[in-house]
């Protein structure tokens, strides 16, 4: 009985570790990859797959995930999570044919705060442009209206 309990406890402890080893921040990692740099918030690795194969791997792996966005950049494919998962992005480089760099980055507040500040400034920019547009057009139109009124007053 004791041995059975011990076996079950070991199994419970070991199984999650085994599962985590398969991925990083709950993102599946391509097994054949070589880790270049790994910290708590970032995993950079190279895989012996072409860019398209690596993208296909992640498309399949993330198929059931909602709020995932694939962006095609000039030198990389950028996968972004708009949900509440522990990772923020996966960048798959468009490098040599048979070797691709994959970078997985943890969800970070720097990105959220930066994008919010930029967008708040963006609202100011939109309304400032509108303010300038209205001020200029207001001056022109009210000037024209006054001139027309004067002309009418003179003619009558």
């Amino acid at each position: 009985m004791k041995n059975s309990v011990l076996f079950v406890v070991i199994l419970i402890l070991v199984f999650p570790l085994y599962s985590i080893a398969e991925g990083f921040l709950n993102v599946p990692v391509i097994k054949e990859g070589t880790t270049i740099k790994k910290t708590d918030s970032r995993l950079e690795s190279t895989v012996n797959l072409s860019h398209d194969e690596a993208v296909t791997f992640y498309r399949d792996a993330l198929e059931d995930y909602k709020d995932i966005k694939f962006r095609e950049w000039k030198d990389a494919t950028y996968i972004e999570d708009d949900g509440s998962r522990p990772w923020h992005s996966i960048t798959i480089s468009k490098g040599t044919k048979k070797q691709t760099t994959v970078i997985i980055v943890k969800d970070n507040w720097t990105w959220i705060i930066t994008t919010l500040v930029l967008r708040y400034i963006g609202v100011f920019v939109v309304l400032t442009v509108l303010f300038l547009g209205m001020s200029i057009s207001g001056k022109i139109v009210s000037g024209l209206v006054k001139r027309a009124e004067k002309r009418n007053a003179v003619s009558t």
């Binding site: 709020d67 966005k69 708009d82 949900g83 509440s84 959220i112 705060i113 994008t115 919010l116 500040v117 967008r119 708040y120 963006g122 609202v123 100011f124 920019v125 939109v126 309304l127 400032t128 442009v129 509108l130 303010f131 547009g133 209205m134 001020s135 057009s137 207001g138 139109v141 009210s142 024209l144 209206v145």
Partner: protein, 380 residues
């Protein structure tokens, strides 16, 4: 036919009724629906919307009612309204058409610097976004919740439907409830953020705005918004079309239809459809509670943002602006402007701030639409 067969028949008949399928969650939703109907009728809180929303909540939370599902592959009544009106994002835009046809932008055109107050007010939207992410909402959900502070019902509905349709009911309810409660929420914050001297700053007479300027305004605005935040052009385009119809004076029949019958018809369908999304299995979770709490915080920070913007502007302006009009930057038109007027009169009986507050009030509508556009662009 023996007794057992009769009992079986009675039981099977009972199983086809709602009584047999009642559950406690539905009873709670009846309470929620009736609460909003009560607030609309007894307290007159945004009755035009809260009454159909409340009734929508009430009616969809009866078991087996064929309203929000599909019968033989065909959508049921409220599902049709929801699909064509909200999923297709038609109704908020038509509401904006009607609002445009009802709005006089004169005070904003006469004093365009108040546009900056409308931008400053959006502070709450961006701060609440952070808080919403912290409590566990996804980024898209956070964006849709944070726009509540802009106090603009159609924009909230438009953005939520775009980014997080599962939160449509609670977000719309929070937005309209807090809009109705502007006279309760804002005054203490206004008093806290201003000194008695600031509250007495006189409002000077606004200049006359010509008809030509009023006709040009929607064209300039729609052009600038289309260039800078194209994602909100369905909303702003309709808003400005309504206003152009009104100011041109040549399509009176269309203007009257847009601001009257069309707006009323759409309001009924919008309210019912929003209410119908709040079925017990979707609504009864921790999220609506957070939405209501964060919405209140959002409103408060937006009010602070507007007042702070006026104070900062006053550092650079020769003719100071009364900071009480800053709170009107939340776009609850014209309620927030009326609150500024009432608060201003308490400190100087001759200082009428209403027309001055209408400027930031309308700027708030444009500002919250711009903020919504920023969020849509962020996720597209």
């Amino acid at each position: 036919m023996n007794l057992n067969e009769i009992l079986d028949m009675l039981l099977s008949t009972l199983q086809t009724t709602g009584i047999y399928n009642l559950e406690w969650r539905l009873l709670i939703m009846w309470g929620v629906g009736c609460l909003f109907v009560y607030l609309a009728i007894a307290k007159k809180y945004e009755p035009l919307l809260l009454l159909p929303i409340g009734f929508g909540i009430f009616i969809v939370n009866f078991p087996m009612v064929p309203l929000m599902g599909y019968s033989h592959g065909h959508p049921q009544l409220l599902q049709v309204f929801y699909h064509y009106g909200l999923e297709w994002e038609v109704m908020p835009c038509i509401i904006f058409l009607g609002l445009g046809a009802m709005t006089d932008f004169g005070p904003l055109i006469a004093n365009p610097k108040t546009l900056l107050i409308g931008a400053g007010t959006q502070l709450g939207v961006f701060i609440t976004f952070t808080g919403t992410v912290l409590v566990g909402f996804t980024l898209k959900e956070a964006a849709s919740v944070s726009i509540i502070g802009g106090a603009d019902g159609p924009t909230t509905i438009y953005l939520t439907q775009h980014l997080a349709p599962q939160l449509l009911g609670p977000n719309a309810l929070a937005a309209y409830s807090y809009m109705a409660m502007v006279p309760l929420i804002q005054p203490p914050i206004m008093r806290l953020m201003t000194t008695p001297e600031e509250r007495r700053i006189p409002a000077r007479q606004l200049r006359h705005v010509s008809k030509q300027e009023k006709i040009l305004f929607p064209l300039i605005t729609v052009g600038i918004i289309a260039l800078l935040v194209p994602s909100v052009i369905p909303l702003m385009g309709m808003f400005m079309l309504g206003n152009l119809m009104k100011e041109s004076g040549v399509v009176e029949r269309l203007t009257e239809t847009a601001q009257g019958p069309l707006m009323n018809i759409i309001t009924i369908f919008l309210g019912l459809s929003v209410g119908a999304t709040m079925q017990a299995d979707k609504f009864l979770s921790w999220k609506p509670l957070f939405i209501f709490s964060l919405g209140l915080l959002d409103f408060a920070v937006c009010t602070i943002g507007g007042i702070l913007t006026v104070k900062i502007m006053n550092l650079f302006l020769k003719e100071k602006i009364n900071p009480l009009i800053g709170s009107a930057g939340v776009s609850a038109v014209p309620m927030a402007a009326r609150v500024s007027q009432v608060e201003g009169l308490k400190y100087d009986k001759t200082n009428h701030l209403l027309m001055h507050a209408i400027g930031p009030n309308l700027a708030g509508v444009i500002g919250s639409a711009a903020a919504a556009g920023m969020f849509i662009a962020m996720f597209n």
